[in-house]
Symmetry: D2
Subunit: 350 residues, 4 copies
């Protein structure tokens, strides 16, 4: 079945798979100490081209969020995130499980504003009982956000400024980073992110890898004994090569960015097709996730033809659904979706 269910519906991009195959028989040391991990780290650092970068690989996004937050924060610190942030709602409490509370503040279109953080910190400073409250030590943002939206450079600079003012670390969850960096509507480069944040990650799972996220500590600030902390959280792969080889491929000949551009091209076609069919969007997204409002009456029949994701209720008779593109999305897929939407269209709507 044609699927727009997510950007992790397919296996690895062929170039990634090819490299896994080519290197399969080599005898390599374990736990990420192999030459492909080294090479991949170097390529990522060279791609960014700044001083002070350190790269580490982990297997998945929630794991990365929990490991990064808990190793970079002191035990008494908490992390601030938008109420719609992935760590606030969709990680089963993984961050709190490590001992650091998530302070959820209201955002807009999935984004957390510098002003919101600033006001919270000012409120705390004026509250005599602040030692009874979790002490913020970090701000978490996702870019693209869970709604496919993007921070502008000015917004990131403002967040970074507030973080510095209040001694907060800034962590950018880049599970879908490529789709942000290559969006036609962004003015944010990977260098901007490296400069403005303390740590961010370059998502692999959703951008062509079988699994894997590359964490970039941007200021020579990798926590001490990081490997031990990864092991302690059950996140250390014996065959660390699995991550190294994949990222080595992703950062050879700009594959990571080519994949991103392809998915964005497909998303653009998708948007045009949906607009042509008169479908209403839940919010404007300049990346590879598109959130459409469809009548509930159409969903069941559409589901039989196309895979997609229910996101949330819109109103009593409509739902928000997500269509995501990825490295494997084809023009043919979009045509199939167009056809299916027509066939399942309900007469009177919106």
């Amino acid at each position: 079945m044609v699927s727009f269910e997510s950007d992790y519906i397919a296996g690895a991009h062929p170039e990634v798979l090819k490299k896994l195959t080519e290197t399969n028989f080599e005898a390599l040391p374990g736990y990420g100490t192999d030459k492909y991990c080294e090479s991949a780290k170097k390529k990522i650092i060279d791609t960014i081209g700044l001083d002070g970068l350190q790269v580490e690989f982990l297997a998945g996004g929630t794991q990365t969020n929990a490991v990064v937050i808990s190793t970079m924060l002191a035990d008494y610190e908490a992390v601030i995130a938008a109420t719609t942030g992935h760590i606030s709602v969709h990680e089963a409490g993984a961050v709190e499980y490590t001992g650091n509370k998530v302070i959820s503040l209201p955002g807009k279109d999935g984004k957390l504003a510098a002003e919101t953080v600033k006001k919270y910190m000012e409120m705390l400073a004026g509250d005599d009982s602040r030692e009874h409250m979790p002490i913020p030590g970090m701000v978490y943002v996702s870019h693209p956000t869970e709604y496919g939206t993007l921070y502008s450079k000015a917004e990131l600079e403002a967040l970074s400024g507030v973080c510095r003012e209040y001694g907060l670390k800034l962590f950018l969850d880049g599970a879908r980073l490529g789709y942000g960096l290559k969006s036609r509507e962004t003015d944010v480069t990977i260098q901007d992110i490296a400069k403005l944040t303390d740590v961010f990650y370059i998502g692999g799972t959703k951008v062509g890898a079988l699994c894997g996220e590359a964490v970039v500590f941007t200021k020579n600030n990798r926590p001490p004994h990081f490997m031990n902390s990864v092991k302690k959280r059950g996140a250390l792969l014996a065959k660390g090569r699995l991550l190294g080889v994949q990222f080595d491929a992703l950062f050879t000949d700009g594959l990571y960015f080519r994949i991103s551009e392809h998915a964005l091209d497909m998303a653009e076609r998708l948007v045009k097709m949906l607009e042509a069919q008169g479908v209403k969007f839940f919010m404007h997204s300049p990346t590879n996730q598109q959130f459409a409002v469809l009548p509930d009456a159409q969903l069941a029949s559409l589901k039989e033809k196309i895979a997609f994701t229910f996101w949330e209720r819109y109103d009593e008779t409509h739902s928000v659904v997500r269509f995501a593109t990825g490295w494997s999305t084809t023009e043919q897929d979009i045509e199939e979706l167009a056809k299916a939407l027509k066939e399942t269209k309900v007469l009177s709507d919106l």
Copy 2:
């Protein structure tokens, strides 16, 4: 360089890699809900052939130990393990990190005796301050152990009996299970293990997979909301297919057991070669890990030719080193090792 460093030096067994390649382009749902996970689970259950089995996949061994122990124990319970057990020493405190204490009791040759557990439980029962002590809820054994040794069926039955007597769950860490099941010196079958334990796992990472362990709950006793607990521990892969496809391949045409037999054949040749060279063994191992005592004077030069693992000091001038075989070990490798040992031999030893 020829490597006996571990059983995770190479990538995936070719049949596993082939299946990953063949299924790579299929669009599949995420988080382990795809058809290959289903198929792999069914094949594992059919291989064992007992009622009440439930299978779940995780990525690595330490992760599996931490997830299984913490989801099967109540918060107030602790797990008993040999002092040499993997969870006691080599997991960076991953089990304690989940909140359940590891009670380490002395073993022999890596094995924990039923009598040792029984005596501990009797001591506790007679101690008025037992509510001040961690309350045992589980016994953890590894099979093969960290020293390559195996429990006999009688030993496992005795452990299982003591566990039932005291209401303890029995958990068998099978990171290298295949090498135990196919050992020429074992009388323990996978059915025995399924009957005698409450939960065990079939290690994939060390038996031909890129990553992955298959947890088998043996008495319809998978903890409720297991997927949520896996997510909460950062252990849920978005592309769960990565685990399903590999285990599907491993349990097709007995591949898992063929890999195990190959590694054991290679280990047998290795042992004969070492014996022929007069190398002393640290202890007898009937599986794929062999522990040899070598003079320190030889280690440095040997290391330049062959990769292997330092295990522990033997005496002031000798070390215990590990040679492990796996799916990728060849007769040629053993010949290379033989040659290297001869070339680096120190004159007067032992």
Copy 3:
């Protein structure tokens, strides 16, 4: 200095102190196994007069919340609370530290509505990604709330009904329970609470004890090995008698309720005095905590004469402050406050 800073400004009520003194020289066993703990438990159970009650003592409120929630919930469960709930904001993340996430939902006047819980549970039930979200296992309410307000019997019944419908435990934080039970505006009895909740606690620290909270499990549902869990959280006092003796005194001759009535009488006088002075209230409170809106210009000078607590900003030139009464509050104290308010009054306000 006269103080309305809190209801824990003074030591123990004289009758409590007397009992501590009288029993001081008796040799008693430790860890809460003494006869005064037994006697106090019996008196509390007799006071409530229902079947299935089990009582345990702990030292403080945050400790009690963390112990009760983490011992009654499974590892994968979370607790729902109002965003203004004590566990949501003022316990430094103590509940999350035990591993269970706090899901904060909007309340009104410090109270969480049954309808709010119901809608959240319905939203979850309809969300395909619900296994990626914390799984609610309990609802937490405080009565009186952090704003001194009270649930009506109908409101508690509605909450209890929703909890039963969705398999949620209901936990009532009664740090100030006496002031709720004896309020002139309540229709809720301690029997109602015992019937409608799964667990609640009778606060001692804020109602005449030096320290101590009495947890009441209402349905023979005390978690197994509770003493071990208390020890594990560092909450077990060697001289458990300290708690037992105090609660024995508090539940002798209705002292707990006499203390509560006294504080409520004083609160009533306080309210009348404040009204007479034209002070505006932040919200109506029928208990011993009164929240007044005062001009910032007055606060500094008032602070030199009277101890009270800043609560939160009201607007740019006003603050909400709390005046609390307790067992030691006297009519003289209120007169002093009246005098101080007059002396510090700023001319043009509100």
Copy 4:
């Protein structure tokens, strides 16, 4: 019944109780910010008379161990203790619950030798897999130990030296510190302890208080936001005065040391009496806890007359039992025990 069950059988020493009574009606701020906490801290610092001391109060011993260890260690660090150490066996896993593993190493007579720590650290340094093992960050010793024994100054200096060599913090659990400092067989002063350790605590619960331990950070090294961490662990008392007032009394006119001397005098008489009766000691203790070997046949009848504590089995027909003295022990108590021992003596023994 006459009781030698522990050193926490009675309430507060009369001078402590008197101060609690005298200060009972004063209105004081909460959470340990009152003047008695301040005064008590100053008195303790003055008693030690060194620079860089910081004092904080907590309620009980296990709580103190868990709070101190988890706030002074990084998340990736573990604490080394003797296998008989309180944190190793009798705290229900409270330290591990905070996330830091306890590494238990063999001791002798309850004491951990510097050489044992050194060898462990050397072993680690030579082990390639050390990043897979918990990373020691602290050494925990109790003084007196759980068996009433004491470290000599030379032994503490050796431990302190090894700790500095390997970058380990040294933490001394002084739950019974007074009985060590005032023992006739010690050459260790409180100044020695303050100089040689990074942190230690002065036990109150077992030396005349109702509850309370005074933690002394010795090198201006109190962890940041310590109050927040205490709150997060549920250990912050609203009426912090309860701890401050008691320690203020204990450190007025040398009460803490007078209590200790009294208990040691009583222990000396106890030992003489037991020796006169031909009772065998399990090990020599120079402090207030005495461990005697008694025939099982005598225990039941003795228990009817005297309260004491079963410690552990000695052999098939004998047990080790503990007799402890404290501030409330009288010569009359010892005479009663003598009489009871005679009356219950079994004919042929040992």
